[in-house]
Subunit: 218 residues, 2 copies
């Protein structure tokens, strides 16, 4: 499959490397054509890895992943272009974290809106699926870093798009039964709002190799 | 121990019944002295169960539990009286859920503040411990309803107060090692912000007998 990734940060490159290793073609998209992180990554990735602009990545992908910071996602996706994203599945892995000078971390939007919903509203012809925004990048593509069964959460309006994302998560090593479908894209609100708790847990645990798991009575 | 509970709803009565069964004396406090839920509960609870006003419950308790809805907690605790709460451990189990007519559920406060922090700020001589606000009332006092090991989260400024709450949770059946101390009272923000996710999980699971559990790499 040809996959376009919007963003060039650690999450983007981790997902890109895994996708290439699985035999997919990937274009890592950045704001400028000469982004050092993207061109270096593409050079190392071999013939299946490419670097380009946001529009290049959106054009390239049969499926597109938004791996930018949530606070700049809309801006990046506007540059990618609504026409290039139309009809496609867009996996939104972002969280709208705002880091204050005093160390306080908050979310914007929050509570009555989310980045997932904002993207779906602004790009109504794109099939947005919120996914993978509840764990660290290394764990996203290597669930075995944490022992036992643990969970992922997806949300979106389009069942077929969610089924395709579930398949992709399966390629990453996540069995279908651990992927919890929380419903429509408004549920993105609730998974983005896990972030403050996740950050506290990270401080408590001392590293990022942990994940939610649910104990449920029969 | 003598325990005062601020509130008379399902959470208050569930906690009260468990505490009485453990041999504690409990006063269930309500806005008015003739609250039907409280007087009926006290009648059924036997000699260890009492009903009274918010000030009565605050006076009575060596330890006090806030089991009111988060949106009215400050108001209830003001009526209970800062002087009566001074020096005491106050276990805050509330969540500030706001139910809109269209079914949307949001939190107020959220993101940059929490009910736990608001209470601690307004009652600086009270030792607030946020606890038990991440699961259903029946499960709070009967962790065996859900199989295996699963987690509780506490937050607060006073280590000795948190140790006493940990003991109380132990009496409820929660082993010390499953109770995660997330730090100061500002961490209440992050556990209150789990609520929208918990509500989505409840819809997905179809009942409330589930709980967070963490899978952590060694």
């Amino acid at each position: 499959m040809r996959i376009g990734i919007i963003g060039t940060g650690a999450v983007a490159r981790t997902l890109a490397a895994k996708l290439v290793s699985l035999g997919h073609q990937v274009t890592l998209g950045s704001r400028s054509r000469d982004n050092a992180a993207a061109t270096e990554w593409a050079h190392q990735a071999g013939p299946y890895g490419h670097a380009g602009t946001y529009p290049d990545a959106a054009d390239f992908g049969e499926l597109v992943i938004n791996a930018t910071a949530g606070t700049v996602s809309l801006q990046a996706l506007r540059l990618a272009g609504a026409d290039r994203l139309a009809g496609k599945v867009l996996v939104d892995v972002s969280n709208p974290l705002v880091f204050a000078p005093d160390g306080e971390v908050t979310l914007d939007p929050v509570n009555s809106d989310s980045i997932g919903e904002q993207i779906q509203r602004e790009f109504p012809d794109t099939r947005v699926v919120k996914a993978l925004n509840t764990l660290s990048a290394p764990l996203m593509v290597d669930p075995g870093r944490v022992p036992g069964a643990h969970n992922l959460f997806i949300a979106g309006e389009d069942p077929e798009a969610k089924a395709r994302v579930r398949e992709l998560l399966g390629e990453f090593g996540w069995p279908a039964e651990v992927v919890v479908d929380l419903g429509g894209i408004s549920a993105a609100r609730s998974t983005e709002m896990l972030m403050p708790f996740w950050l506290n847990m990270m401080r408590h645990v001392g590293h990022t190799d942990f994940n939610y798991s649910f104990k449920i009575a029969e």
